[in-house]
C-alpha cells in the first residue's frame, strides 16, 4: 500500500467526480491541442511552399488568386500570358531564376502542371523512382498522387480538361509515368508534372476540334504563370511596379498576399484559441471543485490517516497525485482524440480536395500544453488541500458518534 495506491483508490471510490474531471479536462486539452495543430497545419501548408519565390507573374486579375493558383495550387489561374513576354522577363538581369507554369488539365482531380526542370529544385524535390521528364507526354508524379492513385512507372494516364475531375472532357493523348518523387510535405506532392510542350500539344488538338469554351489557343504559345526569384531583394522594389504597368500581366508578391490572408484568418484563429483557453480554464475550475469536494467528503478518512501518523505532506501528496492522475489520463485521452478525430476529419477533406496534410503536433507544442495542464492541476490541488491544512483532527474525531 503506497501513497499512489491510496490516490487511485480515492479516485475509484468516486467514479462520477473522477470521470467528470477527466472528461472536462480532456475536452479543454483537446481543444487547445486541436487549435495548435490546425494552426500548425495551415502554416506548414503555406510557408514552405513559398520557398524562394519572390514574385509570381501572371495574367491581370486578383493577385491573391494568382498566388493561390500558382504557388499553393488551390485556386483557378487568372488567365494566361504570352510565353514570349515571360521569356523577356526571365532575361532581366535582376532575375535569378524564372520557372514557367502552364495549367489546363487534371488527372482524377490532381493538377497536371507543365513546367521546366528547375521547378523540382524550387521544392527541393528528389526522385523516389524513375527519372525526370525528357520529352512531351511524359509525367513525373508527386508522392501523394502516386500513393493515392496507386500509379507506377510506365503507367499511362489520360488527362481531363480543366482543373476538376470529369470524365466527359477527356483528352485523347495518354501521358506516360516516367518518375515518382519522394514526399516533400509541400504542394509538389499533389502535382503531376510534365513539360510545357506536353500542355501545348494536348491543347493544340483541342483547338483544332474547336473547343470554344476555353481560350488556350492562339498560334502564340502561352503559359499560366512565371515563378520568379530575384538575385537581390532590392529587385522587389523596382521590378514588380514596372511589370504591373505592362499590359495584360501583373506581378504578385506571394509573401505579401498570404500575410494579408493570414491577418484575416488570424482573427478567427485568435477567437477560437481564446475560446479553447476559456474552456480549459473552466475545466480547471471543475477539477478544483471535484478535488475539493472529494477532500471534504473524506474528512474522516483524512483524520484517520493522521492518527496513523500520516504527515500533512503525505496527505497533500495523495491529493496532488489524484490531480496528476486525472491530468495524465485526460491528456492521453485528448491526444488520442486529436490524433484520431482530427486526423479522420482532415483525411476526409484531403480526399475530396487533395489539399491538406495534417501536421503531427511537435514535441514542443505537446510540452507547452502539458505544462499548462500541469500548472492548472497544481493550482487546483493547492486550492483543494486547504481543508486538509485547516483540519482539526481532534474535533473531527470527537464527533465520531
Amino acid at each position: 500500500m503506497t501513497l499512489w495506491n491510496l490516490s487511485l483508490q480515492n479516485l475509484k471510490s468516486k467514479p462520477l467526480y473522477s470521470f467528470l474531471s477527466v472528461f472536462t479536462l480532456a475536452l479543454g486539452i483537446a481543444l487547445l491541442l486541436g487549435m495548435q495543430q490546425l494552426k500548425q497545419t495551415f502554416k506548414h501548408h503555406v510557408a514552405p511552399n513559398l520557398g524562394a519565390i519572390d514574385v509570381v507573374v501572371g495574367a491581370k486579375g486578383s493577385p491573391l488568386q494568382l498566388v493561390l493558383a500558382s504557388v499553393l495550387h488551390v485556386d483557378h489561374p487568372t488567365g494566361n500570358i504570352a510565353y514570349v513576354t515571360a521569356q523577356k522577363i526571365a532575361k532581366n538581369p535582376m532575375v535569378k531564376s524564372a520557372v514557367p507554369l502552364s495549367y489546363g488539365d487534371n488527372y482524377k482531380g490532381f493538377r497536371i502542371v507543365g513546367t521546366t526542370a528547375p521547378f523540382l529544385t524550387l521544392y527541393q524535390a528528389e526522385f523516389n523512382k524513375g527519372r525526370k521528364v525528357e520529352k512531351a507526354m511524359e509525367v513525373v508524379l508527386g508522392a501523394t498522387v502516386a500513393q493515392q492513385l496507386q500509379l507506377r512507372l510506365g503507367d499511362r494516364i489520360l488527362s481531363a480538361h480543366g482543373l476538376l475531375e470529369n470524365s466527359i472532357d477527356v483528352h485523347a493523348d495518354a501521358f506516360t509515368v516516367v518518375g515518382i518523387l519522394k514526399p516533400t510535405q509541400k504542394v509538389i506532392d499533389r502535382l503531376i508534372i510534365c513539360n510545357l510542350q506536353s500542355v501545348w500539344e494536348v491543347h493544340k488538338h483541342e483547338n483544332r476540334a474547336a473547343h470554344a469554351s476555353h481560350d488556350h489557343g492562339a498560334a502564340e504559345k502561352e503559359i499560366t504563370a512565371l515563378l520568379v526569384t530575384f538575385k537581390s531583394p532590392r529587385a522587389l522594389l523596382s521590378l514588380p511596379p514596372k511589370l504591373n504597368k505592362m499590359p495584360y500581366i501583373q506581378a504578385a508578391l506571394p509573401k505579401y498576399e498570404l500575410d494579408k490572408l493570414y491577418e484575416t484568418m488570424g482573427i478567427g484563429f485568435k477567437a477560437i484559441t481564446g475560446l479553447a483557453y476559456l474552456i480549459f480554464f473552466i475545466s480547471g475550475l471543475i477539477l478544483f471543485t471535484n478535488l475539493y469536494k472529494m477532500v471534504k467528503e473524506r474528512t474522516f478518512d483524512v483524520a484517520i490517516l493522521r492518527t496513523y501518523g500520516a504527515s500533512h505532506t503525505q496527505l497533500i501528496r495523495i491529493v496532488a497525485q489524484e490531480g496528476l492522475a486525472i491530468g495524465i489520463v485526460a491528456f492521453i485521452s485528448a491526444y488520442a482524440l486529436i490524433t484520431g478525430g482530427l486526423g479522420a476529419l482532415i483525411t476526409r477533406i484531403h480526399n475530396t480536395t487533395h489539399m491538406y496534410t495534417l501536421q503531427s503536433l511537435s514535441l514542443q507544442e505537446l510540452l507547452e500544453t502539458g505544462i499548462s495542464v500541469f500548472i492548472l492541476i497544481i493550482v487546483s490541488v493547492l486550492l483543494a488541500i486547504y481543508p486538509i491544512l485547516k483540519m482539526d483532527i481532534s474535533t473531527i474525531l470527537s464527533h465520531d458518534t
Partner: protein, 209 residues
C-alpha cells in the same frame, strides 16, 4: 512506562480550563478512565495521542516527553508508538480490510509484513474478510478491525475512546477481552476512556474524572 504531570488544556475560543489528574502507569499496567460526557475524557485521550497540545504539563510515553515534540515529530511518534481505537469509525471505507492494515503499517514507518497481518487477522477472526471492503462489515467486525488497526504496528500505548459504547453485551465483553489480549501480546499499555460501566470490573486501575 507512561506518566503525565500537571496536565492542563484549554480549547481555542473557550474559557474553560481542563485540569487532569496525574497518571502513572508502570510496565504492563492498563488504565480505565471513567467520566460523564463533557468532562474532558476525549480531550485527555487526544492529549495522550499527541492530537492536541497541552497548555502546561508533561506527557511521558516510554522515554519521550511528547509535549516537547514538533508537529512533524508528533506525527511520526503517533504513527510508530500509538494505536487508537474509536467508537464507530475505524478504517478507510474505500479500502479492503487487508489494505487498511497495510496502510496503517505504511504510515507507521514499519516494513509492511503481510504474514504478520494475516496472523493478526486470524487472531481477531477477520481472516475470511481480508478482501472485503470496510463498508460491508458489521458493527462487531468493524470493532475488531479497529482493534487490529490499533495494534498491527506493535505500539507502546493503545488508546481506546468509548470502544464498547455502541456494542451489545456479548460484543462488549469480547472487545475488551481482545483489547487486553492484544495489549498483553504486544507489551503495550491499554488506556480506555468510557462512560460504559459494564467494563468497570475488567481493569485493576481506574481514574474517575
Amino acid at each position: 512506562m507512561i506518566q503525565t504531570d500537571n496536565l492542563t488544556f484549554r480549547y481555542k475560543k473557550s474559557k474553560a480550563l481542563f485540569r487532569f489528574p496525574k497518571i502513572t502507569l508502570a510496565r504492563h499496567e492498563n488504565l480505565l478512565i471513567l467520566g460523564t460526557s463533557g468532562i474532558g475524557k476525549t480531550t485527555l485521550l487526544h492529549l495522550l495521542a499527541g492530537l492536541l497540545t497541552p497548555i502546561s504539563g508533561k506527557i511521558q510515553i516510554g522515554g519521550t516527553d511528547i509535549s516537547t515534540l514538533s508537529q512533524k515529530q508528533l506525527d511520526a511518534f503517533r504513527g510508530a508508538h500509538i494505536g487508537l481505537v474509536f467508537q464507530k469509525k475505524h478504517a478507510i471505507s474505500s479500502l479492503t480490510v487487508f489494505e487498511n492494515l497495510q496502510t496503517r503499517l505504511y504510515f507507521s514507518n514499519t516494513s509492511v509484513n503481510n504474514e504478520k497481518i494475516e496472523t493478526l487477522l486470524k487472531d481477531l477472526d477477520l481472516y475470511q474478510l481480508q478482501k472485503a471492503k470496510v463498508r460491508t462489515l458489521s458493527e462487531g467486525q468493524l470493532q475488531r478491525l479497529g482493534i487490529a488497526l490499533a495494534v498491527v504496528h506493535n505500539p507502546q500505548v493503545i488508546l481506546a475512546d468509548e470502544p464498547t459504547s455502541s456494542l451489545d453485551d456479548a460484543n462488549c465483553k469480547n472487545a475488551i477481552a481482545l483489547l487486553k489480549q492484544q495489549a498483553a501480546r504486544t507489551n503495550a499499555h491499554l488506556i480506555v476512556i468510557t462512560h460504559d460501566h459494564r467494563i468497570k470490573t475488567d481493569f485493576e486501575k481506574t481514574i474517575v474524572l
